[in-house]
């Protein structure tokens, strides 16, 4: 039970934490406070922020829906690749399992389709 091997790591943690705390805590005291519009704006990868409607701005929920659907099928593909590669080893059992998996995803797909999740408007 030698914990001593971890002492450097703990030390590193402590140093990192102390640095973070120090920089944030020291900034208001040391740094000059000059606010301008650019400083108060949201940070969007350095490009000019897109104008947003009053109240914080909202994206239509449809974007999220589309993104989620994409991820569902993306994940499906991730599963299909290794299965296809080792199809021989997995045999009938693997085939049936994969059918069940695809079936489940299609249940969800059917739900989205029927309930209008694929219509943009």
């Amino acid at each position: 039970m030698s914990l001593s091997a971890y002492v450097p790591i703990v030390g590193l943690f402590a140093l990192a934490g102390a640095f973070g705390l120090f920089s944030v805590a020291a900034a208001p005291f040391i740094g000059p406070r000059r606010f301008n519009k650019a400083k108060l704006d949201a940070y969007e990868c350095g490009i000019e922020p897109t104008p947003q409607p009053v109240g914080g701005g909202r994206f239509p929920v449809k974007f999220y829906l589309t993104a989620m659907l994409f991820i569902v099928f993306d994940i499906e593909i991730i599963f299909l690749y290794p299965w296809a590669v080792s199809f021989n080893m997995l045999g009938v059992f693997g085939f049936v399992e994969m059918l069940l998996f695809i079936g489940t995803v299609f249940v969800a797909y059917a739900y989205v389709w029927r309930r209008g999740g694929l219509d943009w408007d």
Partner: protein, 516 residues
Amino acid sequence: MGDTISFPHLDYAALWPMLILFGAACVGVLVEAFVPKAWRNTVQLVLSLLAMGAALVMVIKRAAAGVTAANAHTASDAISIDKAGLFLQGALLVLGIVSLLLIGERTLETGGPFVAQAAITVGSEADRRQAARESGATEVYPLALFALAGMLLFVTANDLLVMFVALEVFSLPLYLLCALARRKRLLSQEAAVKYFLLGAFASAFFLFGVAMVYGFANAVDFNSIHANISTSDKPFALLLIGLAMLAIGLLFKVAAVPFHVWTPDVYQGAPTPVTAFMAACTKAAAFGGLARVLYVGFDRSNWNFTPVLGVIAVLTMLVGAVLAVTQTDLKRLLAYSSVANAGYLLVGVLGGGAAGLSSMLFYLVAYGFAIIAAFALLTLVRDADGEATHLSRWAGLGRRSPFFASVFTFLLLAFAGLPLTSGFTAKFAVFGAAIGGGQTWLVLFGVLSSIILAFPYLRVIVMMWLSEPGDTTPSVSIPGALTSAALMVGVLVTLLLGVAPSSLLDLANNAASFVR
């Protein structure tokens, strides 16, 4: 290439309850997709009840056939459907059926307690339209089935990874269910987001704990962990940190202090039938999982986690009880009382041995029925704005509707642990088990906190009976058949387990063993 992998043997007889529920949930999603709107609610309700009934039959059949150490494990030891697991599955199904009756109630208000399209902005024109006309979301049924199936898997998982998957499977539907309240939508959605974020936080703890334990024991299944604890040459701290993080993840689900902060907000915000489901079933599942982790994976033959968990139990009992005193909203009051009850359950778990386990199993069933009945009653007391849960609104309810006030009084007395109610026998069992396990100090604090906890219940009783009904005292709606059934079952079981608890105690005693 060309080799074949040896596949795990699957004991379908043991897995049927979960397979039925998962299958029915998938069918339920298809029902949402293809069955006309007008029929959906009936079809879903019948389908869900049938599925749960069938799963329960399967559980009973397996219990009747007998569970032995030889046939308990399946799927390469990833799942262990032993006696305690089977008891928990049965309890979850029974409690699930009773709370599904509440979820299925549609007569109390137009469209039921759920909203059809939670995504529509609260207060907008479209929202008013849907509130007036549309019947509620019927997706709640498949969601509840998914959650319940996840819970069944959770209490029988014999492997930390399966456990984690099950944890997510039953948590995600619950987050969604929380957001679906028809009334007080913002509160409901806020609760769902909070529950989701904090739940994700807790899951992260759990997963990190799994990694730590794997680092120490080189395994994620409980048998190997248990075997490797004494032989591993890794630093012991890895295991400790791992177990602590696992415990944090699980203690979040059971709502133990200091991981209880979400409970009042979520209990208050969620639609009341969902709150009932969570209070009864989530608690049972989480404690089942916690007990399995502690008893099977990390049993205390060579080390001791009791002091820390004991302190948590004491804090949970005291903080829950004391904060319940100042609550003015009944749902929040019951939430804090559920926190305190988690403490009593922890006392039972820490009692250790078969007695501790059996007292915990008994407590879960007794508490589950009582809390479902209490929330069922909450759904009945309502005015034009929906349920009236503020305490002041219940003033004088005893004069307005003596029958329901008496029933609620009875339930509160049961929570307070008055003899001849299940509350007494359950508390007696857990405290007795703790005494038997040498944890007298826990019982001291348990008794102390149960005195404190009697005050808030008394306040409600006094409010109902000894105050004049005001203009704002809501009326009590006539319950529909489903709510009546849930209420009646809950109250009768509470009484029965108080007067003649021996049959269930026997059952719990027989079931009180995990198979390693």
